[in-house]
């Protein structure tokens, strides 16, 4: 553990010096959790009620008004997408750059295992993502609480969903680290790996009724994270990481 702590300190020191990357890293969560959803909510206030006889998927069964549609479908989707994309972008930047710069060779010369190197990198990415995303979630959720769109309980469930998405994305970044050799491959893989998960989440939003969908989605994301960890644990080696 002391080796991982030493590496974490190094990662945080380096992240702290990448101010440009940190500033640009805040744009996506600002956009997806505050700037885009809140005007949508304002727009939805003027929308008519859903017709009672309209055939709707189970996920919409208990949604009676536009605010409900926003709170149980649109905002959870924004939260999920933010949680999935932010760590993966940071991982692409951090892991692929380390490989391209050949700085991994410097670490491999030190008494470290590949597991320690990757664990430290992913933990630092998870912490970075939390630092980048949670403040904007706090702003968005507080605004929705003030506007009486969500309850405290629902905001807690959304926070659970956001945390699960961040963990899922970080674990998938581990697989990405083993597969992507350059930025272009990494970006392509991001699409290949995350699109099915986003589709799955959209499917769950439509299929599961009530607040329970937020728990089901969180569990599904954590299951994806577990699967990514199992795959990575079987594959991970210096040979794959270095080449």
């Amino acid at each position: 553990m002391s080796a991982v702590r030493a590496l974490l300190d190094k990662e945080f020191r380096q992240l702290g010096r990448s101010r440009g990357a940190l500033v640009s890293g805040t744009l996506l969560p600002l956009l997806l959790l505050v700037l885009v959803p809140l005007p949508q909510l304002v727009g939805l206030q003027a929308a008519p009620l859903l017709p009672k006889d309209l055939p709707l998927p189970p996920g919409f069964s208990d949604i009676g008004d536009p605010q409900g549609l926003f709170a149980l479908v649109l905002y959870p989707l924004f939260v999920t997408i933010t949680g999935l994309i932010v760590p993966s972008l940071a991982a692409t930047y951090s892991i692929v750059q380390e490989r391209e710069r050949r700085t991994l060779e410097l670490l491999v010369a030190l008494p470290l295992t590949v597991t320690q190197i990757v664990t430290a990198k992913l933990l630092s990415l998870l912490v970075l993502s939390v630092v980048l995303v949670f403040p904007f979630y706090a702003i968005g959720a507080t605004t929705l609480l003030i506007l009486n769109v969500i309850s405290v309980w629902r905001s807690a469930l959304l926070l659970l969903l956001l945390s699960a998405a961040l963990i899922c994305s970080t674990c998938i970044a581990l697989v990405l680290a083993l597969l992507a050799k350059d930025f272009r491959t990494a970006n392509n893989l991001n699409g290949v790996l995350f699109l099915p998960i986003i589709m799955l989440m959209a499917g769950l939003l439509l299929a599961v009724p009530g607040e329970g969908k937020l728990v089901v989605m969180s569990v599904a994301l954590l299951a994806c994270a577990g699967l990514a960890l199992v795959i990575a644990a079987r594959w991970i080696s210096f040979e794959r990481y270095l080449e």
Binding site: A6, R13, L106, V108, L110, L112
Partner: protein, 297 residues
Amino acid sequence: MASAIAFESASRRYRNGVLALDAVSFSIEEGARTCLLGPNGAGKSTAIRLLQGALRPTSGRVTLLGATLDDPLHEQARRRTGIVPQRPGMYPDLTVDEHLTLARRLYGRGDIEATIEAFGLGPHRAKTLASLSGGFQRRLVLATALLSQPEVLLLDEPTVGLDPVASHDVEAMLRDAMRGRTTLLCTHDLAEAEALCEDVIILRDGEVLLHQPIAMLRGRVKARVRVQARSPEALRGALARRGLTWTEDGDAVLLALDAPREMPDLLRGLLAEGVDVFASTPLSVTLEEIFLEAVRQ
């Protein structure tokens, strides 16, 4: 004496099918300084990677300070080993001080101040690694490898890509650093190998061609003498009459002798025959010649 480094029928095949090492066996005793020579693709860097634990042998065993990669003691063995990788990348956002601090935390020991002093890194300690010149980057990598006073040094082409001045500086530091330490030096630079090591292992196509002390290897190659006479034709004629063979070297001839002690008799004979020999210079056998002969065989 115990082996600090041992390869026992160790093979390594990469995922792309390339067989980098093919049932290689050799051992290096504690305190020995050995150079690993070989043309590109001979398997030198793979051997270093196996020792540092970055790769596993496909078959056979590789031990570092008595521990294989699966041995719980391997982690300790790694902490007792300093490694200089071949031209690693340098962080643009980590300073010399921070890098050495990281290394000390990972090795669990080391005197940063003394190391910075020894390697002349004092004026550069607040600079980022990527902003150092090539020579100072290599000094830093060497300083990192030696920070914990390791028992074993693995050096993968430590002076490659450096200008002659920086190369000379690093070589001088290596000479000090290698004293009393088991060292495996991978290099293309035969003069460097000859200056720094006592033993040589020559690899080709993943196999060990030879592993011997350099002094003993010199005995394998015939001694040569460069002979010059006022009349080169007369000299060649006299040598031909004696059944000797030679190679041309400008106005001179190069003679390969089975027994160098015969040279005085030969010179007396040539002079008595009227061949005006005015220079006879024994040539020392270089590691390059030994290497080329071994690789060509």
